[in-house]
Amino acid sequence: MASMVDDDPRIIEFDVRTDEMLVNMGPQHPSTHGVLRLVLRTDGEVVSEVEPHIGYLHRCAEKIGENLTHRQFIPYTDRMDYLAAMNMNLGWALVVEKLMKYQVSEKARHLRVLITELNRIGSHLVGMGAYGLDLGTFSPFLYAFREREKILDLFEEACGARLTYSYITVGGLTADLPPGWLQRCEAFLGQFEPIIKEYHALLTTNAIFVKRTANIGVMSPDLAIEYGCSGPVLRGSGVDQDMRRDGEAIYTAMYEGYAFEVAVMKDGQYPRDREYPAVPADAVLGDCWHRFFVRMLEVVQSMDLVRQAMDRYSACNGPLGEPLKLTEKMPAGDAYLETECPKGQMGFYIVSDGSAIPWRARARSSSFSNLAVAHELCRGCLIADVPAIVGSLDIVMGEIDR
């Protein structure tokens, strides 16, 4: 027993009676991933309560959605999760298509899979690099951005933008891929694949990284589900759910015929389709390390999906199809759809009164729910663990504040 007391810094802290103090963290703090403000109630080094304050990036996206036609809203979805704008475009495009019972062409379907999975890689790279920054290591960030840059170059060639694409739109995509794009994408994947080993060496198996993340911020599956957490945050707790497989027909039909295994620990094992580093002995299912590791597995999974999509896309002979007209009327009614975005399940809800302008445009953000759980995870942790926990949720403020 005595040795346990010596090892656990918290017990020593409780021994020394200190005053309670409110510490303000953010909104302009480098490790809060945007303009997030956390108010920490601390007793010495131990945090007893964390209260996130959000809304610094609120841009009235839902109100704007009530004043534009469905397709005009696409650029505003770009600005929600600006690290995965393709996935956001897709979410809105699909919910409008669900309401209109519209089906895109086979070629557009495969191109959508291709481009959103590529964006997933880009988003997870930022998540990984920024997480390294949160924990005090700078180099993974540079490595991650070096590779992401190439993805952005590919996007720029396809649609002209590097961050806010508006590429996927209601009824299809705004343009087809330029000639030679697939070869350049394949070249990128071929060059990127061996680099993932470096990432694992830099972070995943790094002793300091493991010490900072293993057994920190452990979230039980029940807690994650009750808070509506989704994406890698949910799967990091061992809940086997991925909207690409479990979602609604209009979304899962996109991935029909694609082979992928949901990145989640089942029976104490992660999918063994490749060589991955072993789970460190200290890591507990649901902790920061597992959330991080799920993202790393998804990078490889998305690479496979991009390759599969490239094959299918180039085998399609039919036309890509034209997007719907800006003023195309929608039937009266409502539809809700969640898609699997890199950060989690992004839900869009559209209510229509029969015109081309939505009566109500609602965005249910995954980061919003994922951040709402932070105060539960941070209770009783050390101040230094707060960035580790919040960083492991991989939130993006544009999506939370909308």
């Binding site: 959000i54 809304g55 609120h58 009235c60 839902e62 109100k63 009530e66 669900k98 309401l99 029940d222 589900i225 009750e226 808070y227 509506g228 957490c229 809940v239 759910q241 479990d246 609604e248 009614g333 409502d334 539809a335 809700y336 969640e338 399940q345 839900g347 809800y349 209510v351 009566w359 109500r360 609602r362 249910r364 919003f368 729910s369 709402a372 759980v373 539960e376 504040d401 909308r402």
Partner: protein, 176 residues
């Protein structure tokens, strides 16, 4: 939602709570009495044969047409519609629960209508209800900490109401 008898079981457990339904809609929905939303949600989350263990989203839709010319043509009475999107993780089934509220409490503009909070059923409802209160102006009774979440604390009005007017001045910042 799927499976016969589900709604009957809900009606049996909570007589009179279900007041409408549309099972042919794109997302089939059930309409319940607003004052019993917490009972219904608790039953759905704990006692129902399909356990809806996760709340995905709460939305308030303001059915109000501020333009009198257009308002004469609409088929509905002004009201506020609350939409709850639920999800069952074990069975991967979703459910939409709707309920109607008056636009204002006792028809006094500016007074948010009241509805029981579902924070006691899913803790994740806390922020969603704060957001609905902030933007659409619905007062959730029994919410542990109901205050604005996205707008500043001293903001006036509820922006997602259709008759909302943008303030012309906020602490010296011009609105137009």
């Amino acid at each position: 939602m799927r499976g016969p008898g589900f709604l009957e079981q809900l009606e049996e457990a909570l007589p009179g709570a279900v007041v409408g339904r549309n099972l042919e809609a794109i997302d089939p929905w059930v309409e319940v009495a607003s004052e019993r939303i917490d009972d219904v949600c608790r039953w759905l989350a704990t006692s129902s044969p399909v356990r809806f263990d996760s709340l995905q989203c709460i939305t308030a839709v303001d059915w109000c047409e501020p333009d009198p010319k257009k308002a004469a043509k609409v088929s509905w009475q002004p009201h506020l519609e609350m939409v709850y999107h639920l999800w069952s993780t074990p069975t991967r089934v979703s459910l939409v629960v709707k309920t109607n509220l008056p636009r204002w409490k006792a028809d006094v503009p500016g007074q948010p209508p009241e509805i029981p909070s579902v924070c006691g059923v899913w803790r994740g409802a806390n922020w969603h209800e704060r957001e609905v209160y902030d933007l659409s102006g619905v007062w959730f009774t029994g919410h542990p900490d109901l205050r604005r979440i996205l707008c500043p604390e001293d903001w006036e009005g509820f922006p997602l109401r259709k008759d909302y007017e943008m303030p012309l001045d906020y602490h010296g910042i011009r609105g137009k």
